[in-house]
Subunit: 339 residues, 2 copies
């Protein structure tokens, strides 16, 4: 917001524009992401206090700390999901993970921890898509390596404690086909190449795997992609995700009514701040005081976070401890009830 | 060939250029397709007499009438297939059908009749792809209608009499997924959008389903797409098809060695002349003589074909009778042994 005076210098502004898409997140001047601007640009809605109170009323439990502290801060049609829930109608949850490394880091866990809460609170089915095909194509991993990472990531996801009687985790390489592939084709027919260029910024030198992937991420939003779970029910879908995934679902919401489905609703989180920056801050502060920082003590962490920017402060309240083991940093997360 | 004098008038030539691609076949001046030019343009090889004699020697039987009469007139690496067959190595056949109507017409039957001969002569496995997904996307059919047509077309294909112990017929909507989808992704990663624009002439207004389809038609060329048939064998593939499908397999042959497979070999046919034109010729001749043409007699057909252009003459020797029933025209095909 404080950069509005730069508006006259058009080129400079463009140069410094923040970039948020499914493959890149970078802030203006390397600083903070302007989330208000993102809401305006993407055209989603701010998740306000009255909506959070409505969640509390409907679920008879305290809203998740990620809601109370504004980590999930934006949505699309979340109120519609609550309306239909109030009327006794079913909905389901869909979230996912692109397996690009062996283990999930804390940022990756945010949507899963929140989805676990949503599943518990609303007692609804959940589908979790492992986009091993996407990572094979974007990260130039082999098919086999992508599948291995998907399997490793699934272990971390399972450890979040989802209701196993209501949860379906699938790898694209295994599950795409049949009803799922039919929906991919239905979506693909509704989206021109120019359209995906507008949404995702592809160029002619991008391979056609990238161009054809958006329908793969779109179709878990439609219950008919999972006939073994939903049969012929045309129920609503709610997608908890980080806001960088919004472009996929803007496309999906555009297509949905044209092929006879509800638009999926979204509930969107901000980005987890890079832990490297936090660790560096801890290290500098420790160094300044002339004592060894690592292993960090709870007090060090709390203190280091004290003057952190607002987003870090919000995360500080959800986390409680920093440990190191060789180059790894682990943060213990406080259970929602403890915060 | 007789049009070379037009070369000076560049614009006119471009305007009148013959167009042959998987979705459109139109000749210069609405006349004959110049197959020599097509061989030059596509870069495939002419199927010559010595190759036909080699087939006869290797299979111990008369080559199919479609070989002897030059209906199959071009190839890519067919000699390599024969080399490896001679060494006792295995290969398999792959052909297919895009189900755009309820019944196969005679032109559609050409590759299947020829493939049946190849299967009998070389005693090899065969996979037949029904591209119901392609027709759903190109012809704007619903998923359900495309599948229905695929099922109807499968009946006509089965009636050709393939060896059921060696033949696998599959619909893309049913079979895509698993090993097949993995190969689709492997191929897609090797092909840029600019590349498919160069090969297929897509524009920005074409939907992304078209852009993403070429890998679907490419991957039956690789035995690992059918693990239940070929296990881990990396055997060669021979594709009998009409020459308009060549662009798909030029792309496939370009990609194959990059992902560890043999380039598929091709054996390519000319196009079946439109029967409407033949029927019209019969009707006009009948009318001129003042007698009812239909039902046509064997003699009428033979006579009508007598002064037909060379390609029709070649087909005349493979067909034997014209009948009509309401608006339909059926032609009885002489068994290869009868010709």
């Amino acid at each position: 917001m404080e950069k509005t005076e730069l508006k006259d210098d058009k080129n400079k502004e463009v140069e410094e524009e923040q970039v948020v898409n499914p493959w890149e997140v970078s802030a203006k001047d390397g600083g903070k992401i302007d989330y208000d601007k993102l809401i305006d640009k993407f055209g989603c809605q701010r998740l306000d206090e009255s909506l959070i109170q409505r969640v509390q009323r409907l679920t008879n439990r305290a809203p998740h700390v990620f809601l109370r502290r504004g980590v999930f801060f934006a949505h699309r049609d979340f109120n519609d999901i609550l309306d239909s829930y109030e009327k006794g109608e079913k909905f389901y949850l869909y979230t996912g993970r692109g397996p690009s490394s062996e283990a999930l880091h804390l940022g990756h866990l945010i949507p899963f921890m929140f989805t676990k809460y949503l599943q518990d609170a609303f007692k609804v089915p959940l589908v979790i898509q492992l986009t091993d095909d996407e990572k094979c194509m974007w990260k130039n991993l082999s098919v086999e390596e992508s599948q291995r990472l998907a399997r490793e990531n699934a272990k971390d996801i399972i450890a979040c404690g989802f209701d196993i009687s209501k949860t379906f985790i699938f790898s694209d390489f295994d599950y795409v086909g049949g009803a799922f592939y039919k929906n991919m084709v239905r979506v693909a027919k509704c989206v021109t190449y120019n359209k995906v260029v507008g949404i995702f910024g592809f160029t002619g030198e991008d391979h056609i795997g990238k161009v054809s992937f958006p329908p793969v991420q779109a179709v878990p939003s439609f219950p008919s992609s999972f006939p073994h779970i939903f049969g012929n029910e045309n129920i609503r879908c709610l997608i908890p995700c980080a806001i960088d995934q919004d472009p996929y679902f803007r496309m999906t919401r555009d297509v949905a009514p044209r092929i006879g489905y509800h638009k999926p609703a979204l509930i969107e989180s901000s980005f987890f701040p890079a832990l490297q920056a936090l660790a560096f801050r801890l290290w500098r502060q420790g160094e300044a005081k002339g004592h060894r920082l690592f292993p960090a003590r709870r007090g060090d962490f709390k203190k280091a976070c004290h003057d952190a920017p607002p987003l870090l402060l919000r995360f500080r309240d959800c986390c409680s401890f920093v440990e190191t083991s060789s180059s790894r940093i682990a943060i213990a997360i406080a259970a929602p009830s403890q915060v």
